[in-house]
């Protein structure tokens, strides 16, 4: 037992030296933080500051009132106000604005007469996300405007018909009240970076032993496959946990992401995710002969994990068939755990379904990987 431990330590020591000498440490610790900075700021699902042009042919107090509604919200940036309809085509084609609000000549006249009038809202559909967001925000503003006018009129008849009933929705979003996308992105990024550090890099480092023939030299020594594997992956477990702590702290300090849960629980459950990743990484290393092959195989695992785990796109919006596929993505469970601990302060018992899924996953891939690894080494 003592010699076994010392052999594992020997491999561990060698791997650490290799990571340091190969200048891998900055890559493994600093790169994830840079990645977080980039992801946290760029990957935002909120759309704000949509450039808008208003063609105002009414030139009335009502039209000015409506325009002011558009220029007072952060969703729109009012670029120009024109009174020529011919400008619409050019502005949209050139991409100067993403949408146009056109107010007809008889706008005020009809309102005053109590007749129906309609506004034209034109959006650029080439970026469908922006287009539909603009339409949404625009409709809300116009609806509120119309309601205001309606209430004004009704109030004048207040004495005759009594009070007007008014039902409003009082919105309250729990856990991420401002719907800030960074709050949901940063926890997700931890999951992504763990995949890179523990699955991709570890599988590459295992394949390297094979590619350089080191494995052949180790086979003739008394070292056991599990000792080799343990010594090799131990550094990546430690680096993975350090990365979790770094990104959590950086997320709290830089992006003001709330952290409601227990850090210890986060680390323990992250360890579970690390085991899943390392199991998959080891498996990849046994089916690849070169680092290049391993890289491609790892990508093959990583991409669906990113896209189908709810990291970027909500699972509920996916087609039913794809939703079933998401169940085999380990990141799916880990993301729920991460967001749960960060934003909701969930406890172990509340996360039990995800923990169980991840635990079974870890168990299955670890056994598979060790068996396959034994075959290639022993």
């Amino acid at each position: 037992m003592k010699t076994s431990k010392s052999r594992i330590l020997k491999i561990f020591h060698k791997e650490i030296l290799h990571i340091i000498r190969g200048r891998m440490l900055p890559l493994l610790v600093v790169a994830p933080i840079l990645q977080m900075l980039v992801f946290g700021d760029v990957v935002t699902t909120e759309i704000k500051h949509i450039s808008i042009m208003v063609v105002d042919r009414s030139l009335s107090s009502y039209s000015r009132l409506l325009i002011s509604k558009f220029s007072n919200v952060e969703y729109f940036d009012l670029k120009t106000v024109s009174n020529d309809r011919n400008d619409i085509q050019t502005a949209l084609t050139k991409g100067d604005v993403k949408c146009v609000l056109s107010i007809p000549e008889d706008f005020e006249e009809k309102i005053k007469k109590g007749e129906k009038t309609s506004l034209q809202f034109i959006t650029d559909g080439s970026n469908s996300n922006v287009g539909s967001a603009a339409l949404n925000y625009g409709s809300i503003i116009i609806y509120n405007f119309s309601k205001e006018i309606f209430s004004d009129k009704m109030r004048q008849f207040g004495n005759v018909i009594g009070h007007i009933p008014d039902i409003t929705i009082e919105e309250r979003i729990l856990f991420n009240p401002e719907l800030k996308s960074t709050d949901t992105m940063i926890p997700g990024i931890i999951g992504l970076i763990l995949i890179i550090v523990t699955m991709v890099i570890a599988s590459l480092s295992l394949v390297k032993e094979k590619e350089y023939g080191n494995i052949e030299q180790l086979i003739v020594t008394p070292i056991k496959p599990y000792e080799l594997l343990l010594g090799k992956i131990l550094p990546y477990i430690i680096i993975g946990l350090i990365d979790v702590i770094f990104i959590t702290v950086a997320g709290i300090l830089i992006f003001k992401v709330p952290f409601m849960g227990n850090i210890l629980l986060l680390l323990v459950l992250s360890l579970l995710a690390i085991f899943v990743n390392l199991g998959i990484g080891t498996f990849i290393s046994t089916i690849s002969a070169t680092q290049q092959q391993a890289m491609i195989s790892a990508m093959f695992f990583m991409l669906p994990n990113m896209l189908l785990s709810g990291f970027i796109f909500p699972i509920k919006n996916m087609p039913q068939v794809i939703q079933y596929i998401t169940y085999i993505m380990p990141l799916r469970y880990y993301i729920v755990i991460l967001r749960g601990i960060f934003l909701k302060g969930l406890t172990f018992m509340e996360l039990l379904p995800e923990v169980t899924a991840l635990f079974i996953y870890a168990l299955v891939v670890s056994i598979l990987a060790l068996k396959k690894f034994k075959k290639t080494v022993g």
Partner: protein
């Protein structure tokens, strides 16, 4: 005492026969050479002896231990150095040696004594802190040798250790091997250099997976074929016609600069001399291992 004993060893790759009925014994302190052209099965044989490859049939015992039953124990008695440099390029000379010492459970005391001795013997003592990737080819081979010797193996298995190494380093390397053989280490070495074969105590010539010659280099060279060196007489020219005339008399013909070297067929000395002494200056020479090998392959 036999340190290594191989009996009726056979290896198939799928249905392709790679080794055919190989048997030999090696004694304590013997240098055992496995000679043969590329693809003759040298590496396969060594990889089976180290346990990296599994044999198809036959018996192998090393230090009295059966490879099928006591492979894990055998590992402590053998050291293996493969054709390719298999150490860690980012580790220094000393770290590489310490790594393998640690894996084999060599004690600190033993390491101190043996490590220093090996470093001095190979002249690597001044390069202890240099990373392995920055060593020359010859130094890399010596480092690999130290790493396989650090746990004091009784049997050292080397696969073409001097391939692509400069002549001076090659000679150094063989001196180290001879020193260890004198101390009682049995050494199995494969090579395609015939001059190295002459330095072994015992050799086998492998061809297409079979042993075609076995014995010590001096015995092996006692063949009943005459080897002649021919030098063209003044004013004579060589043409294809002459080569065609020579062919029926010889088993092998080769050209070495101005000289032609022929291995004659059995008892063909007189008739050959009679036929060609007007054309060549004929000189009988003692056969080399290469000649023996060529003769066997020509059969």
């Amino acid at each position: 005492m036999n340190t290594v004993s191989v009996k009726n060893l056979t290896k198939f790759y799928n249905k392709q026969k790679a080794l055919d009925d190989i048997s030999f014994d090696i004694n304590t302190g013997e240098i055992f050479g496995i000679v043969g052209p590329d693809g003759s099965g040298k590496t396969t044989l060594l990889r089976i002896l180290t346990g990296i490859l599994e044999k198809t049939s036959g018996k192998i015992s090393i230090m009295g231990l059966d490879i099928d039953k006591d492979y894990e124990k055998i590992k402590y008695h053998t050291g293996y150095m493969s054709q390719k440099f298999n150490l860690y390029p980012t580790l220094t000379v000393e770290e590489n040696i310490k790594f393998f010492a640690g894996i084999f459970g060599v004690s600190q005391q033993e390491y101190n004594d043996r490590g220093e001795y090996l470093l001095n013997l190979t002249g690597l003592a001044n390069f202890k802190t240099r990373q392995a990737k920055n060593l020359s080819g010859g130094m890399k081979q010596k480092l690999a040798l130290i790493s396989t010797l650090i746990h004091k193996p009784d049997v050292l298995i080397l696969d073409e250790p001097t391939l692509g190494v400069d002549p001076v380093s090659r000679r150094d390397f063989w001196q180290i091997l001879q020193e260890f053989s004198q101390k009682g280490t049995s050494i199995i070495v494969s090579t395609s250099y015939m001059d190295e074969a002459e330095l072994c105590n015992k050799i086998i010539l492998l061809f297409e997976g079979r042993i075609i010659i076995k014995g010590n280099p001096i015995e092996v060279k006692k063949i009943d074929n005459t080897v002649m060196e021919l030098v063209l007489l003044e004013g004579k020219n060589i043409d294809d016609n002459i080569i065609q005339k020579i062919t029926p008399f010889v088993v092998d013909i080769s050209f070495k600069g101005e000289k032609i070297r022929v291995i004659l067929k059995k008892d063909g000395k007189e008739s050959f001399t009679k036929e060609f002494n007007k054309l060549f200056h004929i000189n009988e020479i003692s056969p080399s291992i290469e000649d023996v090998f060529m003769r066997e392959m020509g059969k």
